[in-house]
Symmetry: C2
Subunit: 382 residues, 2 copies
């Protein structure tokens, strides 16, 4: 069916198609051209990221990370079960065994207190997912990584323009903390290019090889910098770099980052204020932002007491032409992985899978529509 | 330096940015939307391909192929050494050993007569590359595949709108013959979307799984057809599908396929007529189209007697602001593979690597510019 208020809606900020036409005029729409460089420089300068490399998706950025940290068959990677399949698949494709960890009691993000118990001699990496753009406990995670000599790959798919404050007061953008980090520009994200992503390489040991893997296993980038006199096949790799058509679109979005972020946070706040009393009365959990984290307005969600109550809210909104959605069937119970899972119980993962609901959230969501959703939910008695 | 006549130049046929705006208006710019389906249907209906699936690149289509035929570490894959790195890398990423075969005496494509000698008990697939859009000897290759129970993955990156005629007179589009086939829409190809590609699945046994692997290892496509009541993680996979931004761009190109093809073949013919006498006088080989193949106007190349003579031609053109290029450092002699290569001598591969030259070839190349290039080359005495 078509919804009057969809869950998500892509948007133009103004110059997207202009920049695409410009890329064609300029004579380059394959990857690693003018707009790719503009986007990468913007991210580096705005957030203090290490080397930034646009990719065709966050999935592909995760696959680059798995190749860079040299995942071998049998290596173990620790991550939450409550996440998108790509977090896991990227490492499974290199032969890794995934060790799934439960969510936090007050947040769907992984519980950092459960990580140490999951570390073995085969553990190679921890992949914290900053769910809803809200930071994981990075101080604890980085300390464990240092103690056990593990790599940290931040899955920051939803976490652009969000921050973490260390206990000593240092505030850092998400994506600057792990050895590697990945972002998504899928159409449901804050900043979009339809499909799209980025790998951030913070650990200098990976920077040269990242460039080679990105360019299909060739030293083409060195060649164009004049460092080698011809370029050829030097490593494994793939075509991880997006078309300039995608980068040009993304650049127009980045020029409007502040406006987009302001708008999304306003929507988020409107939801929060308009729903908090009703939520308290009906035993519904509202999004929790720990003191060490920030809110980037990526997602507004509610956690109901059970699936039946969630279904009531979905139905109420649906009957008024509004689409609300839930997501993440627990990966440890998926058809693909349930027989490979180590048997660890992950009750909170299942709880979020059964009870979390996402409300419509997009740049062009009007105040009137937001208020309509709030009014309808307030009428739901659970 | 900037060239007056570049080697390649991307082009708009008219409606590219209009369709991109339409995709945004329609509310979907992530993958597998309206324009993806329009492109896929076009290819299927125009050429008689099996299941068509757009991908972010031909590299990614090859990676899907490697996953589908279930390449395991140690499996052997036979392919030409004179090809782009992605032909090999896609299989190397799954652990394959590549067995490289030499080119033909009168064409850079692989010599089908050399394949049988390279087949062992570990051989899993043959990957013929239709160089310059000119068919490999598919009758011979398919007969070997049948006899030895091997899969054939046609690397048709350059081969859109080109055909092969079997000895019995049956004429089939390239990409319809192998179990699987891959195409590229990179900006240097006939039909472009900057970066982009397509997997064609002709063998029905792979169709369902292809859809799952394409959608990140989930059964999302079945879910949206109502075949399952929820979707989840059922297999390995990646984000192989391109943004609708890319598909919308590609669709505008496909609407103009005939015009584009007519223009490219005209340029090709102009080169051929204008250079044939000079080539004969100077011992330069012109492109050879076997009787079983067609010419899709993808590439115009010359093969000089040696590297020095080629360098003279490049220099002459360069001094008049014209960029001509060569390509494919032999993969069997690459830094990455030379120690893994089985030692087979591939003299023709090296010959093409050292002596082949590609002339400017793009939709907007004018008759005047084509004639200028011809005139300048005719002045080169070798």
């Amino acid at each position: 069916m078509n919804y009057d208020i969809p869950f998500n809606k892509p948007f133009l900020t103004g110059k997207e198609v202009h920049y695409i036409s410009d890329a064609v005029q300029t004579g380059k729409i394959s990857g690693n051209g003018k707009y790719t460089k503009k986007c990468q420089d913007f991210f580096k300068n705005t957030y203090g990221f290490g080397k930034c490399m646009l990719t065709t998706s966050c999935t592909d950025a995760l696959e680059m990370a798995a190749i860079l940290i040299n995942i071998q068959p049998g290596d173990e990677v620790i991550m939450p079960s409550y996440t998108f399949v790509s977090t896991a698949n990227a490492f499974v494709l290199r032969g890794a065994k995934i060790v799934f960890i439960d969510s936090q009691n007050n947040h769907p993000g992984m519980d950092a207190d459960l990580i140490e118990d999951a570390i073995t001699g085969k553990t190679k990496a921890i992949v914290p997912v900053h769910y809803a753009g809200v930071a994981c406990n990075m101080d604890k995670i980085m300390a464990l990584a240092n103690a056990y000599n593990l790599f940290v790959v931040e899955d920051a798919a939803q976490a652009i323009d969000s921050y973490y404050t260390f206990p000593d007061g240092t505030k850092k953008a998400l994506g600057t903390i792990g050895h590697l980090a990945t972002f998504s520009f899928h159409e449901t994200k804050n900043i979009i290019s339809g499909e799209g992503g980025m790998l951030v390489v913070n650990d200098p040991q990976f920077m040269d090889r990242a460039e080679i893997i990105w360019e299909k296993g060739t030293n083409r980038s060195s060649f164009f910098r004049g460092e080698v006199d011809k370029y050829g096949w030097v490593d494994v790799g793939s075509s991880f770099l997006p078309s300039e058509i995608i980068s040009a679109f993304l650049w127009a979005q980045l020029e409007n980052l502040e406006t987009i972020q302001t708008k999304r946070i306003q929507i988020w706040q409107t939801y929060y204020e308009g729903l908090k009393d009703w939520a308290a009365q009906n035993n519904i959990s509202m999004p929790h932002i720990p003191t060490y984290a920030t809110n980037n307005g990526h997602m507004f969600y509610l956690v109901f007491k059970n699936t039946t109550k969630r279904a009531k809210a979905i139905e109420k909104l649906k009957s008024h032409g509004i689409l609300s959605v839930f997501h993440y069937l627990s990966l440890h119970e998926s058809p693909f992985y349930k027989n490979k899972h180590d048997g660890r119980q992950l009750p909170l993962t299942n709880h979020y899978s059964n009870c979390l609901l996402r409300l419509p959230m997009y740049y062009e969501l009007s105040v009137a529509d937001t208020n309509k959703i709030i009014k309808l939910l307030n009428e739901v008695q659970l």
